[in-house]
């Protein structure tokens, strides 16, 4: 079975845009709009990667990153924050909280997918295969 890519994003339009671009590139997408549910989903399916927003209802991005990092099952899963750069220090803070990477909004449709792929182990494709 093809491993899904989990997106935790509360903004429907942003979610749709990311999902559209990633699906176009052959990724299977699982999505949730709530931080707490996102962590549960991640544990239940062990996704290919996790994209998450910082501003989230229920559990914000920092808490999500910290929660995901506590589970060694997810140790090898890239956790990538996707958020607007509001304040200097956001990037450092989210990386410190446990995120593997950081992508700034607004996303550039032309480079978005390739930026995600940078966080995959070398040789992976959209299906998570070598």
């Amino acid at each position: 079975m093809k491993k899904p890519l989990l997106i935790i994003e509360d903004n429907a339009q942003n979610l749709y845009m990311m999902q559209f671009l990633l699906e176009k590139s052959g990724f299977t997408i699982l999505s949730t709009m709530d931080g707490t549910k996102g962590v549960e989903t991640a544990l239940s399916c062990i996704p290919l990667a996790i994209l998450f927003d910082i501003q989230l209802p229920g559990m914000d991005g920092y808490a999500v990153a910290a929660a995901l990092k506590r589970h060694h099952e997810l140790a090898e899963v890239p956790i990538i924050a996707v958020t607007s750069y509001a304040m200097v220090g956001d990037r450092e803070r989210i990386l410190a909280a446990g995120a593997t990477g950081y992508i700034e909004k607004p996303i550039n449709p032309e480079t978005f997918v390739s930026e995600i792929c940078k966080y995959f182990p070398p040789g992976w494709d959209a299906e998570g295969k070598l």
């Binding site: 903004n11 200097v88 607004p106 550039n108």
Partner: protein
């Protein structure tokens, strides 16, 4: 000792004049060449002696009279009797008055024919003696004048009567009498003249022992070389013949004056003392009265001056007092005089402030300034300790008025004399209600402003997210469409969607600028600090703006050496500054070129962006870094922009410890230069104000 012609007593004047007329004939020649006559002078009063430093006595009177009439110049040479005898023998003097004749002396000296006086020797003894005949002198201690006739005569007498007595020889009569008086000898042998004159003075009286009558002469040196004796003989003869002559007067004078009745000593002393006291007291009284009058006048004058000065000083003091009272009463603060923590005086303002009347305040304790008795007592040590050090005690507190209302007051307390602070202190009471209200208002305004600032920051953070989220959506989907990911587009659709995309990106940059400047001005912009290579960074920046330059047909030159080294700064903000400056340069240049040059120094780098654009006027250069500034020329208006770009760049550069300068010529182009230290100091506290 030499004496010149001596004066005669005044009372002899008339007689002398008479004698002068009488003998005038024989004297005329002598006056022309005065004959100097040296006369031996010794002490044998009243015949010859020294009185008040002048020769005196019977022999002197007579000789003076003779010499005056003869025109002699007398020189008295004093010495003892024995010395005089020697001098006369050697011819050093011409005459010795009062010498008794003896055969032996006649061989050495020359005697005149006429004796001057006749005398005898007599024994004198202290009063109450029991000497009635010469036999009574047996076993007595007897004083005689050395080498005198009486000495030899008494010796002869003593031998004749076989007396066992001790002879004491002395130099002069005076010491002889005083020594007998002191009891050093029993009796003194003297001549009758000396005894008559001086016996009583020494408490001695004459005895019945009288012997050796003798004639006394003016003896001259051997053979009388100056022929004085005949002249003396002549005068003496004449004077002796005349009962009222100077001869008798002199004898009477010198023998009676000294033996005249004498007041008893105690009476004399008493009388003298009494008279002295009387005289002294009269004199003293007069002097005292004079001095009192003088002093009284002085005092009166001083008194007048003092009164005048007191009047002036009183007037001055009255003026000063009036001035001080005016200041005191018109002061805008309460002034209170205290003694031992009790009000003794206060001004009008104190009454107005406290609502108490003057009489109510006077005598009131400062207890009213304290909330409790305990606080009042506690303050005593602290406050008065400060006053005793000469300091001013200051505090702010609430004071209760008479009607019970309360106001805030500032109290300043100081002692008049720091050594005795309780004896007197002044308290200044200021109503600071208004001040405190103003401070309170200010504090609230500050709080409000801070609250507003927090709200603003919060608003900005929210806006940052809320504005960008939909914009992200617009830009993203437009991009998807333009790329044809959602399906193929015709040419017109593609063109219009690209316009949407461009406008969206511009809107995003405007929003970012507003957020940046807001954060900078609120001091909330934080910078990161990382080391990065300059060359690849500059290449990257240039690649970002190259499409714009190419679009306008401008040459973009890159005059940068290959090894610029690294810089430690906020990389993204560094890029932001350069992109902004390059975009501006391209934006305001219609033709020509934009050149990026870099000068790398050891501690700093200088990046300059030179364009061949529209340039600026001088006055505009000052304002170019102000927020919301836009070039106002007609040409410029067609350029879009928030007017914040340069303001942000300048502030970012400053926050990194650098600066942006500009040089420009209108119509020819501008050069913006960014200077940054290689090791940027991050001054987070720095606030850049517009």
């Amino acid at each position: 000792m030499h004496f010149s012609v001596l004066h005669l007593p005044f009372k002899h004047f008339f007689l002398n004049t008479f004698l002068c007329l009488f003998f005038c004939t024989g004297t005329a020649s002598a006056i022309a060449q005065p004959l100097i006559v040296r006369v031996g002078l010794y002490e044998n009063p009243p015949k010859i002696f020294t009185e008040d430093g002048q020769p005196a006595g019977i022999f002197v009177d007579l000789l003076n009279d003779i010499s005056r009439r003869e025109g002699w110049k007398l020189q008295y040479i004093s010495g003892s009797w024995a010395q005089n005898l020697d001098r006369l023998e050697r011819g050093e003097i011409d005459l010795i008055p009062d010498m008794a004749y003896s055969a032996k002396r006649a061989q050495i000296y020359t005697f005149p024919k006429v004796p001057a006086l006749s005398s005898w020797f007599q024994v004198y003894a202290p009063r109450g003696h029991h000497i009635h005949s010469i036999l009574d002198l047996n076993h007595k201690r007897i004083m005689v004048l050395e080498r005198s006739i009486q000495d030899t005569a008494f010796e002869r007498l003593r031998k004749g009567f076989e007396l066992q007595c001790e002879l004491v020889r002395v130099d002069d009569y005076k010491s002889m009498f005083s020594r007998v008086q002191r009891g050093e000898a029993d009796v003194a042998v003297t001549n009758r003249f000396y005894g008559m004159m001086n016996g009583r003075k020494y408490g001695l009286e004459d005895t019945a022992v009288v012997f050796e009558p003798s004639d006394l002469y003016y003896a001259a040196a051997k053979n009388d070389p100056k022929h004085l004796l005949p002249t003396i003989d002549r005068y003496l003869s004449e004077m002796k013949a005349e009962p009222n002559s100077l001869y008798y007067q002199s004898v009477l004078h010198w023998t009676s004056q000294k033996v005249a009745f004498r007041w008893p000593l105690w009476l004399k002393i008493g009388g003298g003392v009494g008279a002295g006291i009387l005289l002294f007291s009269l004199l003293g009284g007069a002097i005292l009265k004079y001095q009192v009058n003088l002093r009284t006048r002085e005092l009166r004058q001083i008194n007048q001056e003092m009164e005048e000065r007191i009047r002036e000083r009183t007037a001055e003091l009255a003026t000063i007092t009036r001035e001080q009272v005016s200041i005191f009463e018109s002061a805008g603060v309460g002034i209170i005089m205290l003694r031992d923590r009790v009000i003794v005086r206060c001004n009008q303002k104190t009454m107005e402030m406290t609502g108490y009347k003057y009489d109510e305040l006077i005598g009131m304790s400062t207890r009213m300034w304290y909330g409790s008795q305990k606080a009042y007592e506690k303050a005593c040590d602290q406050v008065y300790g400060q006053l005793a050090r000469g300091e001013t005690h200051r505090r702010s507190q609430q004071v209760t008025r008479k009607d019970g209302t309360v106001f805030w007051a500032r109290l300043s307390l100081r002692a008049f004399d720091e050594n005795k602070p309780k004896d007197g202190a002044v308290a200044i009471l200021e109503d600071i209600s208004e001040e405190r209200r103003a401070a309170e208002t200010l504090r609230r305004a500050m709080e409000k402003a801070q609250e507003a600032d927090r709200t603003k920051s919060s608003f900005l953070a929210t806006m940052s997210h809320e504005l960008r989220t939909p914009l992200n959506s617009i830009i993203g989907f437009t991009g998807i469409l333009v790329q044809g990911l959602a399906g193929p587009l015709n040419e017109e659709q593609s063109k219009q969607l690209q316009m949407v995309q461009k406008s969206s990106r511009h809107l995003l940059s405007l929003i970012n600028d507003v957020l940046d400047i807001s954060k900078i001005e609120a001091g909330q912009l934080e910078l990161s600090h990382e080391s990065f290579d300059l060359n690849p960074t500059l290449t990257h920046v240039l690649s970002l703006v190259t499409p714009l330059a190419e679009e306008k047909g401008l040459t973009l030159e890159f005059q940068v050496k290959p090894q610029l080294g690294s810089i430690c700064a906020d990389k993204r903000r560094f890029e932001q500054i350069l992109i902004n400056l390059l975009n501006n340069a391209i934006k305001f240049t219609e033709q020509g070129s934009v050149i990026l040059a870099c000068q790398a120094k050891e501690n700093e780098i200088c990046l300059s962006i030179r364009d061949t654009g529209i340039g600026m006027e001088k006055k505009e250069l000052k304002e170019v870094f102000q927020p919301f500034h836009q070039v106002e020329s007609g040409l410029a208006r067609k350029h879009e922009g928030s007017g914040l770009g340069l303001a942000i760049c300048q502030r970012l550069a400053a926050q990194m410890g650098g600066v942006i300068t500009v040089a420009s010529t209108l119509g020819q182009g501008s050069t913006f230069t960014l200077t940054l230290p290689r090791e940027t100091t991050i001054d987070q506290s720095q606030e850049v104000h517009a």
